[in-house]
Amino acid sequence: MFAFLLFEMACKQSQICLVPQLITIQGVYVSQDTSSTIKDTVLDNAIWLFGKDSLFYTQSRNTPYFSIVPSQIQDSSVFYFYIDSTTIQTSIPDTITLYSQRNLHFISSACGFQTYHELQAVKYSTLTIDSIYISDPNVDNQINKKHLQVVIKK
């Protein structure tokens, strides 16, 4: 009985949260070639700025993929996109606004909640971006999804 009690105590102590509370929007850069077929496009040094004072960033180095974090406190999130991070001081970024419906999702009693998003719409400027498509509106804790397709101007 004592062994069982110790076992039970050990199990209770191990309730540590290992699941991140923040959910990311996954995306892919694409471009149209001359035959109008869309294919993944590797960007050498793209950067996204976002957050409270746009102080946070995520950089895409030699990859066609990116991930950004949407706001959990309001239904719209504003992102600034530079196609080349070395020109951040001199160039004007594209502004992307994502509108989403936020849904509270319970993870566990060790981790509490996280916010799932259902993407509703996207608005964007077209300095370096041709267009943006929502390919999967449901942003949840599945990491293999691609929610956005960003078509880069040639």
Partner: protein
């Protein structure tokens, strides 16, 4: 209740009903419900003292039905709380289980009540959860805090177990058992699951192992 769970419940009833009914003709000389035992789970009382996440008070009553079958019921109540940097809530519940204990060995002497058994039970708990306050730590856009409203729900589960009961003094018995429990309606329980459902165990898990150490007092006429 899902189709799968209905099948499980049907299978359990198909097992229990013949055990109970067939005995009426086969053991017609056997006097039913002449001896009963009531007891308290001592292990849970000790566990209550050793941690502060939950408290549970569990009792058991059994009565002889056939030579090798006792009708058994557990009942009790408890409360639990979750408190960490992400979420804080408390819950209370009461529970009851019904089922049978089927013993293995023949009686060695008149009134022998010592035995090893396997058990099968259906469990039910009514859970009340209070408002939950939560915080999502987000250094990027700002932390989120809120209150998730209180709710009540019922939990249903099945138990399969094994154990023994032995007489330690006149009408005093000790009974130890280990049980495998599986929720029939896990979806009802999963959202803000109680840290501990009295009678079941960890509310975050669809299947759990549990144990009891009962101290029982028996009364009545032994067969």
């Amino acid at each position: 209740m899902s189709l799968k769970n209905k099948w499980i419940l049907c299978c359990v009833l198909i097992y229990i009903v013949p055990q109970v009914c067939i005995g009426q003709t086969k053991d017609s000389m056997y006097k039913k419900f002449t001896y009963a035992r009531i007891g308290v789970d001592m292990a849970k009382l000790v566990a209550n003292v050793m941690q502060n996440q939950y408290a549970t008070y569990e009792f058991m009553i059994d009565a002889n039905f056939k030579k090798d079958i006792n009708i058994v019921s557990d009942f009790g109540f408890g409360h639990s709380s979750v408190k960490n940097s992400f979420i804080e809530y408390a819950s209370r519940n009461y529970f009851t289980t019904f089922g049978i204990d089927k013993t293995f060995f023949n009686k060695e002497y008149f009134g022998d009540m010592d035995n090893v058994f396997v058990s099968l039970r259906y469990g039910f708990a009514h859970v009340k959860r209070q408002d939950a306050t939560y915080a999502i730590q987000d250094p990027i856009w700002g932390n989120v805090q809120g209150v998730y409203p209180s709710t009540s729900f019922n939990a249903h589960w099945l138990e399969f177990g094994s154990g023994f009961k032995m007489q330690v003094y006149h009408h005093i018995f000790l009974g130890w058992n280990i049980r495998f429990k599986t929720l029939i309606n896990p979806k009802k329980v999963q959202n803000l699951a109680p840290a501990y459902i009295s009678g079941y165990g960890n509310g975050n898990k669809n299947t759990v192992f549990g144990y009891n150490m009962f101290l029982l007092y028996g009364f009545g006429k032994r067969n």
